[in-house]
């Protein structure tokens, strides 16, 4: 059964999608409090993702999670570039694996905290 990746959409990402025609595919989650795409991932691509990232796993909802942040960022970039939620998105992501892994190596010990007052 295909799995999926939840691609969260904040205001800046929503701006980048304007006019792409993808707006109507936005899922409203948690009573409209959160916007996201559910990007379907084939079994073949799922296997590849799990092989590439030791932390990656499939959670109780059938979602692929615990992937590097760099991976999530590239997934969104490919969606915006291809203006699609089709299998070509994941093909484009996997083609950029070397770039993702290089960025992921840097984020394994440090992630900048959000600039909010605590």
């Amino acid at each position: 059964m295909p799995k999926y990746i939840a691609v969260l959409l904040d205001d800046s990402r929503l701006q980048k999608l304007e006019g792409s025609g993808l707006e109507k595919k936005i899922e409203k989650m948690f009573g409209g409090a959160l916007n996201a795409f559910n990007l379907e991932v084939s079994d073949e691509h799922t296997t590849k993702i799990l092989e590439e990232f030791t932390t990656a796993r499939i959670d109780s909802r059938g979602a692929i999670t615990d992937v590097p942040i760099a991976f999530n960022r590239v997934v969104f970039e490919e969606i915006a570039k291809k203006k699609s939620l089709g299998p070509e998105v994941m093909e484009g992501v996997l083609a950029r694996m070397a770039e993702i892994k290089e960025a992921a190596a840097k984020e394994s010990e440090y992630l900048p905290a959000p600039d909010i007052e605590v």
Binding site: F30, T65, V67, A113
Partner: protein, 452 residues
């Protein structure tokens, strides 16, 4: 017959108290003992996976009553076979003081000797050695958690080095000193842990002060999201003639797996739930247990039941995948253990119905999710709508990592800010090997000077 539920006795009948509070008496006990500096247990990459000091603290302050020290070989074997101590009381895990062959040779200790255990370079505890034996670490690791062949009711996959609890047992040193511990130089808990330190005796006194007869406990190794909050609030409707008087959060503090939240964020995150009024502070109390989690799902739930019964709780909430990692156990293994028993672990009945079993009552809970149709957080046993948005921990971790401010329906803003506060301190929102190594240097305690 009264239907009022009273506070249960400690497991084993009495609280163990092996802490010498008078420094002069402590010094006297340590005089002439062989000296050993406690070292962390490291995995194959040199990352700390356990520090035995946490077991010594939890034993001596009575959390693990009736356990009094490092277990003898016969006791370890009985636990692996029947999950019982030599005095028949139910207990899930072998707890041992391990040293390397090299250290054993240097110490030259034999049964009957006393060892002074130093922590952070200062006297901490003594161990009166009654027996010395050796273990096969891999065999111990397998037998501790069970196998699909030997425990088919609940074990689904063979344990391996991806399981943090298995790695703890696999990484032990081969020589075991069995005997009772005694803390001779009382440590001081460091902030922020100090304000959450309620050993069983003090915890029971606190319940008396608050007038709490019935108390339900929430086990945690998480910064609480709103699903956790609803679990606590709803599970607390149980009780006897009225809902439970108190909700006790007992956070496990110690080495955790990569990707869990830092301990400081966990305790302060839960505290924020009551500080900002989501559950009244008069009804909600945050405490800690020093323990390097074994992630043993049903077995971990047994330990949790024992600890929290010792703390004076009447009820324990258990959810799906309790204290679990991966898919080694059935996701409802804990509920099976408490609901009907696991014969291959030695329990043909629920663990609070067997002789020398537990007295705390399980509150087995299913799931909470957000239901768009109900327009609220719904309980899986009640809501019959198809669309459900689950509070997946990894989904939330992903959102946090991406720096997206979570909506209030997922994280209370004050709780999220606590997570960000500690993210700023450690440069990462979750546990990393670097965090574990930094924490290992400081631990959760400081010790007063003591010349011996």
């Amino acid at each position: 017959m009264s239907i009022r539920i009273e506070r249960p006795e400690p497991h084993g009948g009495r609280l163990i108290d092996r802490v010498v509070t008078d420094p002069a008496a402590g010094k006297k006990l340590a005089k002439g003992a062989a000296v050993f500096d406690i070292k962390p247990t490291l995995d194959e990459n040199g990352v700390p996976v356990r520090n035995v000091y946490r077991e010594i603290m939890s034993t001596c302050y009575g959390f693990f009553s009736p356990v009094e020290g490092s277990m003898k070989q016969a006791e370890v074997e009985r636990i692996l076979k029947e999950r019982r101590l030599l005095n028949d009381w139910v207990f899930p895990y072998p707890l041992v003081f391990d040293v390397s062959e090299e250290d054993h040779k240097k110490l030259g200790v034999t049964p009957g000797d006393r060892v002074l255990l130093r922590l952070k370079g200062k006297p901490f505890a003594i161990l009166d050695v009654e027996e010395i034996y050796r273990i096969d670490q891999e065999e111990l690791a397998h037998k501790t958690f069970g196998t699909p062949e030997a425990n088919p009711e609940v074990v689904k996959e063979a344990f391996n080095k991806k399981h943090p609890g298995w790695v703890i047992y696999k990484s032990l040193n081969p020589v075991i000193y069995a005997g009772k511990y005694k803390i001779i130089n009382e440590p001081k808990l460091r902030p922020p842990f100090d304000r959450f330190w309620f050993p069983p005796k003090k915890c029971r006194e606190e319940f008396d002060k608050r007038g709490w007869r019935t108390v339900i406990v929430h086990q945690t190794r998480n910064v609480p999201h709103v699903g956790h909050e609803h679990l606590m609030k709803n599970a607390a409707y149980t009780g006897d003639t009225e809902p439970c008087h108190g909700i006790l959060v007992n956070a496990v503090i110690g080495v955790k797996r990569k990707g869990d939240y830092p301990d400081e964020a966990i305790v302060e995150g839960h505290e924020a739930v009551n500080l900002y009024g989501y559950i009244k502070p008069e009804r909600h109390m945050v405490t800690i247990l020093l323990w390097d989690m074994r992630y043993g799902n049903p077995l971990e739930s047994l330990l949790h039941g024992i600890v929290r019964q010792n703390m004076g709780c009447t009820h324990h909430m258990f959810g799906r995948d309790h204290a679990a990692v991966g898919e080694y156990y059935d996701m409802y293994a804990t509920q099976i253990l408490w609901g009907k028993g696991v014969p291959s672990f030695g329990f043909d009945k629920p663990v609070n119905e067997v002789p020398y079993g537990l007295k705390i009552r399980p509150q087995n809970m299913a799931e909470f999710w957000y239901c768009p149709k109900c327009g609220e957080i719904a309980y899986s046993g009640s809501c019959n709508h198809k669309e459900r948005q689950k509070f997946s921990g990894s989904f939330i971790r992903g959102m946090v990592s991406e720096g997206i401010f979570p909506p209030g329906v997922i994280f209370r803003p004050e709780v999220y800010k606590v997570a960000v506060k500690w993210w700023k301190v450690y440069g990462y929102p979750f546990v990393t090997p670097k965090y574990l190594m930094e924490r290992e240097k400081e631990l959760e305690v400081d010790l007063p000077d003591m010349d011996i």
